[in-house]
């Protein structure tokens, strides 16, 4: 069964990019445009991995991460931070990786693959 990745980013173009990238590499991708929607989709789909933007209108990344870690079904889902914000690596300390925008496609896929096996 295909692994599920939830992409949370407020930028439609980046969401589309990540969805295509993950689909093309054999994953099922789901999307959300902010933290609030991200939590809802995560609850529904229980993904295997989440990629998380930090700065988003509405509810921002670190807050969603706190909510995830307090939820017994979601707290063990690995999170990869992908953000353009300087200092993003400190925003979610327990993330499996923290990538700067613009990120390296191969590096992201490598981390995803390692995390999901």
């Amino acid at each position: 069964m295909k692994k599920k990745i939830l992409v949370i980013d407020d930028d439609l173009n980046i969401r589309d990019y990540l969805v295509s990238l993950f689909n093309d590499n054999g994953y099922d991708a789901y999307v959300a445009k902010d933290g609030k929607e991200g939590f809802k989709v995560a609850k529904e789909t229980i993904p295997d991995l989440i990629t998380l933007d930090i700065e988003m209108p509405g509810e921002w990344g670190p807050r969603l991460y706190r909510q995830l870690s307090q939820d017994s079904h979601l707290k063990n889902i690995p999170v990869i931070v992908i953000s353009g914000l300087s200092g993003h690596q400190y925003a979610v300390v327990k993330a499996v990786a923290s990538l700067s925008k613009p990120f390296d496609r191969d590096e992201l896929l490598k981390i995803v693959k390692q995390t999901l096996t």
Partner: protein, 497 residues
Amino acid sequence: MPKKILLINGDQDLTAALKLYIERQQYDVTCVTTFEAVLQKLAKDIWDILLVDPFFNDEMVSCLEVIKKNCPHVQIIVLAQRDKLDTAMDIFESNVIHYLEIPINSKALDLALIAASKNILRNRKFDRYSERLSALHGTQDLLNQLFEEVPCYISVQDRNFRITAANRKFRQHFGNQVGGQCFEIYKYRTSQCHDCPVAETFQDGESHSTEEIVTSKFGKQYNVLTRTAPIRNEKGEITQVMEMSTNITQIRQLQDHLVSLGLMLGSMSHGVKGMLTALDGGVYQLETGLEKKDNNRVLKASEQIKTMANKIKNMVLEILYYAKSRELQYEEMRVDTLAENVVSSVKSMAEKYDINLDISIPKNLGKIDIDPKWMEASLINFLENAVDACVSDRDKKDHHITFQVSKNSKNQICFAITDNGIGMDTETKNKMFTLFFTSKGSQGTGLGLFIAYRVIEYHGGTVEVESEPGKGSQFYISLPLHKPDNIKNVEFPMANS
């Protein structure tokens, strides 16, 4: 060193006897018996005492007069026969210290030599004293010149911050204000400044440094770097403090330019990173679309790339536009449209804070030549500043801002912005158009009014401000209807449009 005596006498026996006698008393005696020899000795050496018979040669009298004139310190003792003593006294009067009668009484000679020696000693002391005095005068002149000509503002202040001395540059820019208080002269304040370095130096005797913005007598603001030094009395107590301020306005202006550019780039960097990621995404979609021969994906990708390329292009152009000196882009614009655009930008902000906005924009004001983008940004800034002043004021319940547009007698367009907000003291009023001055603490950048003011200035306009702490402020902005002939190039970056 023994005193040198020149013994001048025609009588060789007397001369020899005198030499013998005087040498026993530790004097260095040289004898001459001819006038030629006298001239030679006088030309060659410096003598302390002349023991002379002025009548041994016809020319000796006039020669002695010349000697006395040229060497006033030389002590002359006259030796003369009794019948010539009176004549000698008539000629030389008090220029000679002693008149001895020949044959010479040895006691009288001893006393004469002692008196001469005392005179010599006194003269030497006096000479040394005069030398020191003139050296002191020279040093004083030099120090005074140094104090006056140092290319900084120097003032000396007492414990009440009264200026007791000021150098030329200080007087030039701040007036001859000796007796006035520093905070009054430098900053038009009525009380001592916070963190006054002079007060600190009075307290601990150390040198202190601050950076200040001061206002000259011509109303110009300068950024100055201030350093202090204590001045102590003989007991080591600090009686006064010297304050030396270096004008660093030009350095600050340059820095300001760079910093605001940096601020702008910093605030843009997040957006730029997002755009680059989306552009990457577009390229990926395009590549994979071509691989998979997925036409839809290719089309979507090319759209995305176009959009992103455009966005990046606009952003880069904006950076260049703001970073580069450029001339104002004049356009003709209806005054009421300009004013309405400005008001519409600020309306929601005023509503949010429950501030009553009273607007008066007549329709018949015609058109004005301006750079619309910059002028709107400038006027919005003034209005936003009024909103901030109301928000900061906790004393009054109801706040209102009036925005009135009119044409004055000089055919200029006037924007009057009045608020009943927190108001400003004189110091804030003087500094508010200075870059990086903010009265809003961490809420302000110190950029807004600086840029707003410059925009008005570059359009040939003026800004007048009236304000009272606790009561509110009025800004009167006047703009010429047409582009002035001597318009300057704008040489500062705008933080945001």
